[in-house]
């Protein structure tokens, strides 16, 4: 959980409190530069592994290998995930040691760096996978399922999984394998309590394996928007 506002700030009630900014809004050039060094593996301080090896400098990820795209996710979201990897709250044998070896500043800066990269365009609508499964996934995303008792994905992630900055990640264009792996992890209790209120664990628990494959295929198939960082916030 996010730390609550320091009490001191509340005690300022009666005068205008200083505005609280979201991470990377706007991205400072210093943070972006520092974040790029981290992405290159040149972050120093015992950094293990270079982000770009799997996620690319452009943050496009590698669909074939199931490495998620980072470009255009919000810095807040990326930072939160890195913190959870580092603490072990989000278990992952590859990411955990990498994140844990970073300093807090490095985790912050690399998050800002990738958030500032424009997401890659994907054409979508290409024949990949079973079209019936794809349609089922689209239906789950758009209206949910009365039978399963799950609400539509787009309630939080936006239509086509465009993402709801800054807390709800963009799903459109992510590798289907990556999305399915996350849903299975939630369903099997492997990501317990790693997000507020267990929203996703609750939803995933109600999905069948077919549902999981369907929504994953769907989000991977949605055309994504190029030339726009984040889900719409960064100029």
């Amino acid at each position: 959980m996010r730390p609550a506002l320091p009490l001191a700030l509340l005690l300022l009630a009666g005068t205008a409190a200083a505005a609280v900014e979201l991470l990377g809004n706007p991205p400072s050039p210093r943070q972006v530069a520092s974040g790029r060094a981290v992405a290159a593996g040149a972050g120093g301080q015992g950094q293990q592994g270079a982000c770009f090896a799997c996620h690319g400098f452009d943050g496009a990820g590698q669909a074939a290998a199931g490495f998620p795209a980072l470009a255009g996710q919000s810095a807040e979201y990326l930072h939160e995930q890195l913190e959870r990897y580092a603490s072990g709250a989000r278990p992952n044998p590859i990411m955990q040691p990498i994140a844990a070896a970073m300093t807090p500043d490095q985790r912050r800066d690399v998050s800002v760096y990738y958030a500032a990269q424009p997401p890659q365009a994907s054409a979508g609508a290409r024949p990949q996978g079973d079209p019936a499964l794809l349609q089922h996934g689209g239906n789950l995303s758009a209206i949910g399922s009365a039978e399963r008792g799950v609400q539509a994905c787009q309630n939080c992630h936006g239509p086509g999984g465009i993402g709801l900055w800054p807390n709800y990640p963009r799903l459109a264009g992510q590798p289907a394998d990556y999305l399915a792996a996350q849903l299975r992890a939630w369903k099997q209790g492997e990501r317990p309590g790693d997000e507020p209120y267990n929203f996703m664990a609750n939803i995933a628990a109600r999905l069948t394996e077919d549902d999981i494959r369907a929504v994953s295929l769907y989000f991977a198939s949605v055309r994504t928007v190029p030339r726009q960082a984040g889900t719409g916030v960064l100029p």
Binding site: L5, L9, V20, P159, R223, R227, Q228, G232, V233, P235
Partner: protein, 244 residues
């Protein structure tokens, strides 16, 4: 009421009463801030006649005028919004109890006129047009903005005594519809480019903030998206033109 002809004469002699184009926010022009917001494309009106549309456009652009940063009601598509509302279910009196007898009633008893919104507009617009022509000697659209405002205030107060209906009933409906058109989802034709939402900082219908509730004082400046916007972004394969 009778318009103040002497004042009007003064204004005329000051030379500020230029011919006002349909969309011309003369006040804004005179402040040298922002070019007139043109109507985007010729509109095929569904309810209004061209004359009515022109009158409504001129009125609503005084109710919410353009300024240096944010366009006004016309630039936001409010006339198109109202046109669509009047041509649709709301205009025809859906969700309005329409049985008589009709009596005047007290203010506390609410709307008691026998008109549907569409009938209210049809009736009122011709009354307004005639009243303005009778009192000011020209069309509302051609009046100096200050006279337009004066005329609107007469409608608002009910001083523009119409025989068929109280002018304030029409004015209040027009004002409410104008605000609706400026701040409702753009899929209804108003709030074009989400200008109303950007102006106040409302992020729109894609909403979910529980993780942010306890970050007090947060500067949250996500640009808004309308109900149909995100799908359009996917489909058209390009980024929205919105600026922060």
């Amino acid at each position: 009421m009778t318009p103040d002809l002497s004042r009007r004469g003064l204004l005329l002699s000051s030379g500020s009463l230029a011919a006002v184009p349909l969309t011309g926010p003369t006040e804004a022009q005179s402040h040298d801030t922002m070019p007139a917001t043109p109507m985007a494309a010729p509109t095929l009106w569904r309810f209004f006649t061209a004359d009515q549309a022109s009158l409504v456009a001129a009125m609503v652009d005084r109710l919410i005028p353009p300024d240096a940063e944010f366009t006004g009601a016309v630039g936001a598509g409010v006339p198109q919004f109202i046109d669509g509302q009047l041509a649709g279910a709301w205009g025809s009196g859906a969700r309005l109890y329409r049985l008589g007898p009709f009596a005047e009633g007290t203010p506390e008893q609410g709307y008691q006129l026998p008109y549907t919104p569409a009938e209210l507009y049809r009736t009122s617009l011709s009354l307004v047009a005639d009243w303005v022509r009778g009192g000011y000697g020209s069309r509302f659209e051609e009046l100096d903005p200050r006279l337009q405002d004066e005329a609107l205030r007469s409608l608002e107060s009910g001083e523009a005594g119409f025989s068929e209906l109280p002018s304030d009933a029409f004015f209040e409906t027009l004002l409410a519809n104008t605000v609706e058109g400026f701040l409702s989802d753009p899929m209804y034709g108003g709030n074009r480019d989400m200008v109303g939402w950007r102006m106040v900082g409302f992020p729109g219908p894609y909403a979910g903030y529980v993780n942010l509730l306890d970050r007090h004082g947060l500067n949250f400046n996500r640009p808004p998206r309308g109900i149909a916007e995100a799908l359009r972004e996917h489909a058209q394969h390009h980024a929205p033109t919105l600026q922060r």
